[in-house]
């Protein structure tokens, strides 16, 4: 199995308005960045060169991991998407 493909099998109705918003400044001083490896959908990317956190909400599985793992409360918003938007499981 090609792991890069695994993400393509899940369906989404993407909301332009993100349901998770984070303050990247908080991440700059973070000593652990558990979100980058614990997120099952690769939504968090930390660039060591630019010292910058990038978050994309598109492929978010709404699993809750980052909400639990972030110990610095970097979120200015963490809620579920508006009704009808976000991940749409068919079979699981």
């Amino acid at each position: 199995m090609n792991i890069d493909e695994i993400f393509d099998y899940t369906s989404f109705t993407i909301d332009r308005e993100p349901h998770i918003v984070l303050d990247p400044q908080v991440c700059v001083g973070c000593d652990n960045r558990g979100c980058t490896n614990a997120c099952p959908a690769r939504c968090y990317t930390w660039s060591e060169e630019e010292k910058k956190m990038t978050f994309v909400h598109d492929g978010c599985l709404e699993c809750g991991t980052c909400y639990v793992v972030c110990h610095r409360n970097a979120f200015t918003r963490w809620r579920y998407p508006r009704g009808g938007f976000g991940v749409a499981y068919r079979m699981t």
Binding site: N32, P40, V68, R82
Partner: protein
């Protein structure tokens, strides 16, 4: 939008739909509010649906009508290390006779069906509606608002059945403002399409028989475990990780899942299948000690929202506890409508019903299990010990044999340390 109900249920998962069904059958006007385009769209689990004693009471032909997959007749545990594994299975005749001891199901189908049953009983299902705020009037809970919709839904009482993160319980001040990663786990799962005959032949199944296997030692040293369940024509395979351990490991769930699926013995089980869907969800694994305030003024918390999940290691019980607590929440609301008292005191009967049920009794009984499962040796050294011993026992190569108990002690001393072995055996005994 401004409509009055007797009760509002937030979330149409097993807890919410069970609560709505119970209240609707008692004649209450119930709003069952779900953020998905249909109930179940947002929900994943392992998973095996266990028996549901309380729903079976309200709903005698439940098992004939529910959309189920295979019933589980064969249960297995596999200890894994690198390219070796040791498995045990139990296949019991009793598991192959009704009432069956559990079925595989798909959440998008099952949850949708259960919510529709609540609708048939008279509940109003409102989908594509993410509950946002709790509304209070004169110091009393009066309803909820929906994200991006005007107006509100009003009712004197709300059942928070919105799952593990329960923002509803948080807004009511009933749950802790943040979670301890040490009390939470995340599960990731791949659904793999496979022809039914292939599944039957590969796992030794006939008719509607199903197989459920758990794995230890397959999580790259992160605390957790794996599972493989058979559906009619697909396999559910996945891993569960404790979040405290995953966070510091630097490892990713999908790489570990990939490695698990490539392990030679697992690879043989899923070979010939086609990946269908990938999903993930957090599990409240803190057990009894994690349970929040269950009742507030005008509000009751049920299911995962109340951390009512029992993860003892071999079984993961969640849907059954969610559904049971939902039914009891429904009963408590019906009782409160008779007295007109929706205060914390008036709703307290929920707490009593729950304390009296297997939900709290089991969680209390296993209250030490979550602690035991935070022992790294379970996930590393013990699977190695088991596989190493078994390999030795079965290897016949002309080398003189050692006394088995001596060998066990020697291997245990090397891998685990005898003091640790004794301590672990003791804590396992105390916990279980």
């Amino acid at each position: 939008m401004s409509t009055a109900y007797d009760a509002i249920v937030v979330g149409a998962g097993p807890a919410g739909s069970s609560a709505a069904l119970t209240m609707a059958r008692a004649g209450l006007r119930v709003a069952l509010v779900e953020r998905g385009t249909f109930p179940g769209e947002k929900n994943m689990f392992g998973g095996v649906l266990h028996r549901l004693p309380s729903l079976e009471e309200v709903f005698p032909d439940f098992w004939e009508r529910a959309p189920l997959e295979r019933h589980i007749v064969k249960k297995g545990v596999t200890f894994m290390t690198g390219d070796s594994s040791f498995s045990t299975t139990i296949e019991a005749g009793n598991f192959d006779r009704p009432p069956y001891n559990g079925y595989t199901i798909f959440r998008p189908r099952f949850d949708r069906w259960l919510a529709e049953e609540a609708v048939k009983s008279g509940a109003t299902l409102i989908t594509r509606a993410t509950v946002d705020e709790l509304v209070s009037r004169n110091g009393r809970l009066a309803g909820v608002t929906i994200l991006d919709r005007k107006g509100e839904l009003s009712a004197p009482v709300v059942v928070a059945a919105d799952g593990v993160l329960s923002f509803t319980a948080k807004k009511a001040g009933l749950r802790q403002p943040t979670f301890d990663p040490g009390q939470m786990a995340v599960g990731v799962k791949a659904l793999i399409d496979m022809p039914r005959e292939l599944i039957d032949d590969r796992f030794g199944l006939v008719r509607d028989q199903g197989f459920a296997n758990e794995f230890v030692g397959c999580t790259g040293g992160v605390r957790g475990g794996g599972f493989l369940y058979t559906n009619y024509d697909s396999l559910s395979i996945g891993l569960v990780f404790h979040l405290g351990s995953l966070r510091t490991s630097g490892k990713t769930p999908y790489d570990l899942l990939n490695a698990f699926m490539e392990q030679p013995q697992v690879d043989k089980m899923i070979r010939g299948g086609r990946l269908q869907e990938y999903s993930a969800h957090v599990i409240p694994e803190g057990g009894f000690n994690m349970i929040p305030e269950l009742v507030g003024d005008g509000i009751i918390v049920a299911g995962d929202a109340a951390a009512l999940c029992n993860a003892t290691g071999v079984n993961l019980e969640g849907i059954n506890l969610a559904s049971h607590s939902g039914v009891l929440a429904g009963r408590a609301v019906v009782a409160a409508h008779q007295t007109g008292d929706f205060s914390r005191r008036g709703l307290q009967v929920y707490r009593e019903l729950l304390d009296d049920s297997y939900v709290i009794k089991d969680l209390k009984l296993y209250r030490k299990a979550p602690h035991m499962l935070h022992n790294d040796r379970i996930y590393n050294e013990y699977p190695e010990l088991v596989c190493g011993m078994m390999e030795y026992i079965y290897r016949i190569d002309g080398a003189p044999k050692e006394n088995l108990s001596k060998l066990f002690l020697k291997t245990a001393r090397e891998k685990v340390g005898l003091k640790n072995l004794a301590a672990d055996a003791f804590s396992a005994w105390r916990a279980l």
